[in-house]
Amino acid sequence: MFLTNKTEAWFFWVFFPLALLAPLFLEQNEFYVSKITTVVILAIFVMSLDYLIGRCGMVTLGHSMFYGLGGYLFVMLAPEYETVNFWVYTFYICVIAAAIALIVGVVVLRTSGIYMIMITLAIAQMCFYFFSDSIHWGGNDGLFIYIKPETSIFGLSFFDLDNVTHFYYFCLLSLFNCLVFFRMVLRSRFGRVMDAIRENPQRTTALGYNIFLFRLASYAMASALGAYAGYLFALQYGYVNPSMLSWQLSGTALVMSILGGMGTIYGAIMGTLVYEGLHYSLEHLTEHWLLLMGIFIIALVMLFKSGIAGFLESLLEKRS
């Protein structure tokens, strides 16, 4: 199996079956299916951030740039009133996002720590203002996507993006693939080197690895996935807005990642679920939900030293 420890296995076997069954319980209410779809898409985004922060030691506050770009690239590339192929554009968007990440990465990787946080923020803010100020791309009010892409491969169509349940399962499959993909990357030679770089860059350099290239590759990979998540999000409701690129979104994703347990990859899913679940329930509970949310976050930091995943691991792994 690709799972690393008991906790992850436990989580895996609880989460995915439940997620698979979820639409059956929620079928009569389209909204719930849409809501969990959004959470799943966010989880993909947070997972890519989690890999960057927790596994590569590259803390970024500009990851939302790629999330927003995923949506905007589709609007910019696709003709407005023609049906296009989903896979083709998935490919375009991921490749372009990775290319942008390669360029940005060259700049970003010169710095580290807090300076890296700030330079990623700076670049993301520039991108944010580019879309927010441009009348052509909808400015502050955002743009609609009128046509949903069709999803056939060689003429065979397996699912329909317009169908809420289909779309949910597709997003869930994407999340699953991401998890497996990151696990495979981390178990590969490449992943071992990344771990080594995080632990001790000097020694890794001394071993003859070009750590710059390894980091750059990781950055491009995670950014492409972030863009993919943004692309899915834009397709879900057919709406893009510059607020998808805002630093607040990067900050929220960062909170989810830390909450879940940094660097655990599967923790990103838990972090997203807990944060979004809390947000949803508190918001419906009281107008002053911010207060409760804040107190809850503070309490979580105080109690759990390394996120929810860390807490669960300390419970489950000891006994074995």
């Binding site: 009348i135 400015g139 502050n140 955002g142 409701y237 057919g238 709406y239 607020s243 918001e283």
Partner: protein, 441 residues
């Protein structure tokens, strides 16, 4: 489950009602079963009697149940609350506007409870945080989770776009109580979307003529660089240049930056005849204070879209004196509806009403009138829309009705700030209708 057997499944029933019917039908099931179970044990003698009894019992039960069922259905059709979803910002920069709009809405619906034909109102309040990327999700919650009859919101134009994407041509009737994006009653107009506030074009367009009449030839315009601001400046420019005026410079400040000093110094260097601005809320406070502090007040007249001095006068203090603005409302309007409204608002919420409260209040009036016209029936959307299209709202801003694109046809008042109050000095435009460019309704 047996609940499937309940008639009229298309009617959305409240939970309590469904439970009651389920409960009854379970009991019915027991009633049906017991005689047959007893039958196998009983001797043949009592069989006929038992059978008779059971038939009678069954009949009685069926009658009882159907009558309960029907009566509860009829009742539910009358008493099921009208669901009003509110999507406004209750936290963050726009929170004050969201609060005021909600206050006004609830005030109107309480005041006109008699119009609701016995139906109660259930509010579902969602905090948009003025975050457009969350708007479609929240709108979809009101649409398919809550099955709201009316959706009131939002304040922020970006959020409005996100909501329109989900709610256009759907079941709930969407009433926009603030967001002024021209598009909402322009290219994106829809039968079920109404607006009780304004289009960005409306308060600014007449100000071009006002500037011309005051003898200004060269004007600098200024606003935040976002949709609402740009549209306001464009509307001003449209009428101002048509009459022979010249916009010397258009300054667009990155949103939400409030460091205005350098821009104001720049204006001072250009020495235009007047300045026209669009700012609202905290930005309006800061701009007016900076304009005064840099010594331009009294030397270069300041004109504006009325939001410059709405809900902000207390914070602006003396710096706002003498500013001339155009808006579809003024606190000091001397009509009975306004006086009564302001008094009621003051009583209920302990503070002065502002334009955002009025717009929310009118959204409430619109709902009340529509329900009154349809005898409290929300099932027929077509009838509701028809009622709303022909409604005349007796608003604190004066009576108004809706244009073909569902935007108010309303007066724009010319106001001057005197002693901390927006004093009406005349009409900038009478019964002004938004051109609704691109609307196919």
């Amino acid at each position: 489950m047996l609940s499937k057997a309940v008639p009229y499944p298309e009617i959305h029933q409240p939970k309590a009602c469904i439970q009651r019917i389920e409960c009854c039908s379970n009991w019915l099931l027991v009633q049906f079963k017991t005689p047959f179970n007893g039958e196998t044990n009983d001797l043949t003698q009592s069989r006929i009697m038992n059978n008779n009894k059971s038939i009678l019992r069954r009949l009685a039960t069926v009658v009882a149940i159907t009558s309960i069922g029907i009566s509860s259905l009829v009742q539910s059709a009358v008493q099921e609350p009208v669901k009003v979803g509110i999507m406004m910002p209750f936290s963050g920069v726009y929170a004050a506007l969201g609060d005021a709009g909600r206050n006004g809405l609830k005030l109107a619906l309480e005041e006109h409870a008699a119009f609701l034909h016995g139906r109660t109102i259930e509010y579902i309040e969602l905090d948009t945080e003025a975050r457009p990327e969350r708007a479609p999700e929240q709108a979809s919650s009101l649409l398919s989770q809550q099955k709201a009859d009316f959706v009131i919101g939002p304040v922020h134009s970006g959020v409005a776009m996100g909501m329109l994407k989900v709610l256009s041509n759907q079941k709930p009737i969407m009433i926009i109580p603030n967001a002024g994006a021209n598009a909402a009653t322009g290219p994106l107009c829809a039968p079920n979307v109404f607006r009780t506030s304004f289009s960005a074009w409306q308060p600014s367009y007449p100000m071009g003529d006002v500037a011309l009449k005051s003898g200004y030839k060269k004007v600098v315009t200024m606003s935040w660089n976002y949709g609402m601001g740009q549209e306001s400046l464009d509307a001003f420019r449209e009428s101002f240049t048509k009459g022979g005026g010249q916009v010397v410079k258009e300054i667009l400040v990155p949103f939400p930056k409030t460091e205005f000093q350098s821009y104001i110094t720049d204006i001072a260097a250009m020495k235009p005849d007047a300045v026209f601005v669009f700012f609202a809320g905290g930005g309006a406070v800061k701009f007016v204070k900076d304009y005064d502090a840099m010594g331009l007040k009294g030397k270069i007249p300041l004109l504006g879209s009325g939001f410059l001095t709405e809900g902000t006068l207390a914070a602006q203090g003396a710096a706002a004196e003498g500013i001339v603005t155009g808006l579809h409302y003024a606190d000091s309007l001397d009509n009975p509806a306004n006086i009564a409204f302001r008094q009621l608002y003051q009583q209920q919420f302990g503070k002065e009403a502002d334009i955002y409260g009025v717009q929310g209040y009118d959204a409430g009036l619109l709902i009340a009138q529509a329900l009154n016209a349809t005898n409290g029936n929300t099932a027929d959307q077509g009838a509701l829309i028809k009622a709303m299209e022909s409604a005349v709202i007796d608003s604190p801003r004066g009576k108004f009705h809706f244009s073909r694109s569902h935007n108010p046809i309303q007066n724009i008042y010319l106001r001057t700030v005197e002693n901390g109050v927006n004093k009406v000095t005349g009409l900038a435009a009478e019964a002004l209708e938004d051109p609704a460019r691109g609307c196919k309704l």
